[in-house]
Structure formats: C-alpha cells, structure tokens
Symmetry: C2
Subunit: 352 residues, 2 copies
C-alpha cells in the first residue's frame, strides 16, 4: 500500500517521539512492502515562532492532501500564563480539528498489566479496564458563539442534529466492533443540548438492536470511571465533557505515556499520543515514545493493515516485558533506556 | 441562641436520615441551652406528588423566613428515564438554589482514616487529602438561555462580573481560613467565560497577598484530583465544572456517605448531605445518617456555634471508632447498626 503521511512533530518532546514513530513506520513499510511517503509540516508554538500562525495554511494543505496525519504534541509553557498572548499553540490544535472536520476523537483506555501499579486506582479496581472514549471534537462550547468584555462573557454550547447523529453513529458502530455496550454521557437533567443528544440517541437505538445503550449523567460518569472503570465498553459524549472525561480516563490506566488516539471525520484522519508536549523534558531523550508508536498502530489499522498494526503492538508489549523502558515506567533497578533506545529496540523487533 | 430551621426531608432515604439530623440538633440544643424551632416543608418528587411542584411557593416562604435550611435529598427513579416528564424533582433543587440565591456551594472533601480502604484510590495517595471544593451554583449553563427544537439545541454559559467576584471572594476568604492556597479551575484556553473568571481572579489576587493562587485547566484538575488529591486546599470553579469535580472529589475520599455540604448566598443558607436520595434503600433503616449529621455540624458552625459543631464531629468520630456503623462502612464481622441506631448512639454521646 502507498500512503502519504503528513508529519507534524510540534513542540517540546514532539520531534523526539515522532522520530521513533517514523522509524517504526519505516520498519513496517520495508517488512510488508508498503510505501510510506512523509511530508513534514509546522504546527504549535514552533509554527508561531516561524510564521506567526500555529496551524499555517501550508500545513493545512499538506494535511488535506495526505492520507493520514501523524501528530505528536503542541504547547509551550511560554504561553501558559500569558493572558495577553493573542496567538496560542492550542489554537493550532483547534484550527486543525475544525478545518479537517475531525469530529470524532477516539481514545482507547487500556491498562497494561506491568503498569497497573502506576494507576492511582487500586489495582483490583482498574485491572481489566478496557474501554474507548469517543469525544465529539468540532462542536459545543469550543466552537459556539463566544463573547467577552470587561463585565460579562459567554460561550454557547450549540449542537445541531446532523452533528449529533454523525458522532453517535461512530459510537454505535464502535460498540458493534467491541462488546456491544454504549454509554451515552450527558447532563440531560439540566442542559437542552444534552436533551437533544439523548433524544437522538434514543431514536437511533432501534437501528442497532445488538447494542445495549445506557445513559449516564456526566457527574455520575466522572465517579463511575474511578469506582468501576470496568463497567465501560464504549463511552460517548460531547466536546467539553469529553475533554474532562477522556483525560480522567487516560490517567486512571496508569499508562498515560502509552495511550494513542485517533481523530477522524470529514477529511484526513489524525493519529496522536494522548499526552502533551512536556516542554520540561525536551531534548533530553527521556520521553516515552510508546504512545506515538501505538498511534502508528492505530493509523495502520485505520487503513485495514491489521497484521501490521498487530506487529507494532506486539513489539511494544515485548519491549515492556523485556523491561526496555523509559525511566518513568522502568522497574526498580532496571537499566535506563532513552526515547531513542526504546524506539530502536522496537524497530529491531519488527525487522526480525 | 434561637434558630428557626426549615426542614426539607425530600425523597427516598431523606426522611430517615433527617430524623437523625434533627435528633442531633435537639441534643445539642438541650445541652447548650439553645432553642431550635423547626418547620417542615415539601420538596422533590414528594412535592410533585402532593402539590405538583418540586419546590412549592409555600416551601420557598418557609425557607426564606428561616435562619437556615436543613435539607436531605431529592430524586426518584420514576423520573429518571422518563424524558416526557415535564416536572422533575431536580427542578426543585434548581429552583431552591436560584430563589434563595445560593451562589456558593461548599463541599469539604475529607478522608476518615478508618474508611481509607473504601477509597477507589490507593490509600497512600488519598491519605491526608483534605480540601474544599467551592462551586458557583446559580450561574453558567444551568441558568443561561436555552433553546431546543428537533434539529438544534443550545445552552449558554453566561457569567457577569458581579457573579464571578462574589463567588471568588468566598474562595479567597475560605483559603484564608484554611491553608492559604486557592486553585482556580477553568478552561481559559478555550472559553471566553473562563477567561473572564481568570482575569477577575488575577485582579483580586493583590487584595489577598496571604493567599497563593494557582490556575488549573479543568481537564488537568480532573486528573490531579485523582493523582495527587493532597495538592488541593481550596478549589473553586464555575457551575458545570463544579458539578463534575465536586462529585469526583466526594467519591475519591471513600467517605461519600459521610460528606456534608453548605450552600450560601443572598438569603437563607442550606445544609445537606452530598449523597443522593437512594430510593432503593428507602424505609429500610440502613442508610448512613452521618452526612446529614455532619451537615448539622456545618450549620452550627455557620452560626459560630463552634463548640457545638465540634461536639457533633467528635461524636461522629467516636461512633466510627466504636464501629457503630451502618452496613456499607461496617468492618468485617462488625455488628449491624441501622440508621436509627447510629443516630441514637450519637445523640447519647452528645448528651453524656
Ligand atoms: C489544548 C486544549 C485546547 C485541548 C482541548 O481542550 O481540547 C486539550 O485539552 C485536549 O484535550 O486535546
Ligand atoms: C440533580 C442535578 C440537577 C444536580 C446538579 O447538577 O447540580 C446534582 O447533580 C448536584 O450536583 O447537586
């Protein structure tokens, strides 16, 4: 297969982990006889510095014309406490989502046996947790009408039927591919937008008789996720709730540094780690490349390269088993491996 | 002291736990020579059944003319999955908040040593967690303009400067009474309303030089609360985020059934347990009355009855130490005590 990949390394540790992601793609390409062609593009703080725009038009063009985007992370502490900054790295992220129509953000929450002790939850609670959070990514308060002056401000949580239908469709279909259990998370006891979500989900239920659906208020979901994470199979929710719940979800697994995500929609899909740009660790060869590498696995699977995706996952598991790990997940007394060393080990495993 | 207390037992287990709350108030009154006068009023599902309104005008009058409201819980499963129900118990709650101007919802999150093992978090993480969540309760998406038809819907997250200032003032002052650390939780990288919150908090900072303030995005806060709950002292946020975070907070302590709350504002303050009406346990004498009893402690402290509040807390601690506990927190092999038995034990302790 021939694939054109837009490569967006972004800020902080982004370029380092991306290097390993690409190395893994190359190893897969040569093993399976595929042809992956890459085109790098600017985004984030980096892009602000170079061209004054966190998601430049040129980057957009490169993404649009690619089959998939492999993204690392954006964000820089310089911008975090500067309310006067008019252009911010995160705007690049939001622009990318909107322009590529990435309405479905898909985040598998998976535990790794050897990292269970890293979870803030008791091991017996989180053991076996394996669910997917689907977050609507181009609507709601993120993109609704906003206003702010010195005395008042508002955001509008606006959703239309087509926006809700298309994301719920993703949820129902995902549930079908998994354990046929969909949890629709909303605040229908308070919000009009949530009531429309719930109404539409209820209308769609009969078309998916093999999927069992339950409805949960967001405050309950935030609790259930930590008191009984194994309850969930596929959870779906709107943008703002999804921002909170997907982050909560990724941190309960204890494997934050290992979690990939996919954002799909109207145009080119994007694959990226769940974690951020960790500016403090930049250039130190200590960031964990596994989430980036597993994002490559999701990318491959998206194009039905099932064996290829599986081999990447197997290689990652093997590296964990062999204790070839970056410092933050290394076992006591284990040797220190850097970003590059972990990546190279996985590449070698794939090539074997 | 003479106090007029409006008593709102509500639904489910509400009346049973309220009975114990009142018994404790009476014990305190006779021990310290106070005069507490009660007036019962309808609210919740109960009030819908009797007068068709979950927060009837008469209840409002009784609350308005009281010095404090002691509230138990509302809600009934009958309404939960009935999207056609036009009148719902929760509307009573929202009406009460709005009409009494209860803009500050204060929820201490406290751990009890003997219940640490009940926490979903690892004991070593949650041990020592002791913070207060302050949630704005009469603004934001809960009360902003709403619209819904078959094809679209919206809610408006609207805040004005005075609304933000008065709640932040509560936060700063609470921090002063505690460990001088205030965490303002928002989503200022995305929401206009959050940017106004952050701007105003920054303006107010110089007036509280003894309070150290930090700003945290809501997605981060949802993670931090489970990865490092001891980080927080006083956390403050807007209504919708507060709904999610306060619930997450109360469940990490492992002591959900023991957590009280206060809602204060323009008129009569309300004191109530954090937990819900648990309709399934209604009439079974097994609900834990401790959150209701600790709500009484908060009520007393609100009126500067410090010794009285402390005695109630001491009595609660003693009941836990003596393993006089309701089933869900009883130690293995411990005797079974009902709602009434726990309440009576605490009353006896106070009278001694
Ligand atoms: C950086 C921010 C705008 C973004 C969001 O809120 O969507 C991030 O938190 C995320 O979840 O990807
Ligand atoms: C019942 C519901 C309207 C209410 C809320 O969302 O405020 C509840 O969840 C709470 O937190 O008190």
């Amino acid at each position: 297969m021939k694939l054109k990949i837009a490569v967006l390394p972004g800020d902080g540790i982004g370029p380092e982990i991306m290097e390993q992601g690409i190395a893994v793609m190359d190893a897969i390409a040569s093993k399976f006889g595929h042809e992956f062609e890459y085109e790098q593009a600017l985004c984030g703080a980096h892009a602000i510095d170079e061209v004054g725009d966190p998601f430049p038009e040129k980057t957009y063009d490169i993404c649009r014309n690619a089959d998939a985007v492999l993204f690392a992370a954006v964000g820089d502490t310089r911008f975090d406490n500067d309310p006067t900054a008019k252009v911010r790295p995160e705007q690049g992220l939001l622009a990318m989502r909107k322009k590529l129509g990435l309405y479905a953000n898909i985040r598998p929450v998976q535990t790794f046996k050897c990292l269970l002790h890293k979870s803030p939850l008791r091991s017996e609670l989180v053991d076996g947790a394996d669910f997917v959070c689907i977050r609507e990514l181009t609507g709601g308060m993120y993109f609704g009408e906003k206003y702010q002056d010195n005395d008042k401000a508002y955001d509008t949580n606006y959703y239309t039927r087509p926006e809700i239908e298309r994301i719920l469709k993703v949820g129902f279909e995902y549930a079908r591919k998994r354990h046929h259990h969909l949890t629709v998370v909303d605040k229908a006891n308070v919000l009009a937008s949530s009531r429309l979500w719930r109404q539409i989900a209820q209308e769609m239920e009969p078309s998916y008789p093999d999927v069992s659906v339950d409805y949960m208020y967001v405050d309950n979901a935030a609790m259930r996720m930590i008191t009984e994470p194994t309850f969930f199979d596929v959870m779906i929710t709107e943008n703002t709730f999804g921002d909170i719940l997907t982050d909560e979800g990724s941190c309960i697994s204890g494997s934050m540094g290992l979690l990939p995500s996919a954002s799909t929609g109207e145009s080119t899909p994007v694959f990226e780690p769940v974690h951020g740009s960790w500016p403090q660790a930049k250039g130190q060869n200590k960031a964990n490349p596994l989430a980036q590498i597993l994002s490559v696995a999701m990318l491959l699977e998206h194009f039905n390269l099932v064996d290829e995706g599986e081999l990447v996952r197997k290689a990652v598991d093997a590296s964990l088993d062999a204790c070839v790990r970056t410092p933050e997940i290394q076992v006591e007394g284990g040797a220190h491996y850097g970003t590059r060393e972990v990546g190279m080990w996985i590449v070698d495993y794939i090539k074997k």
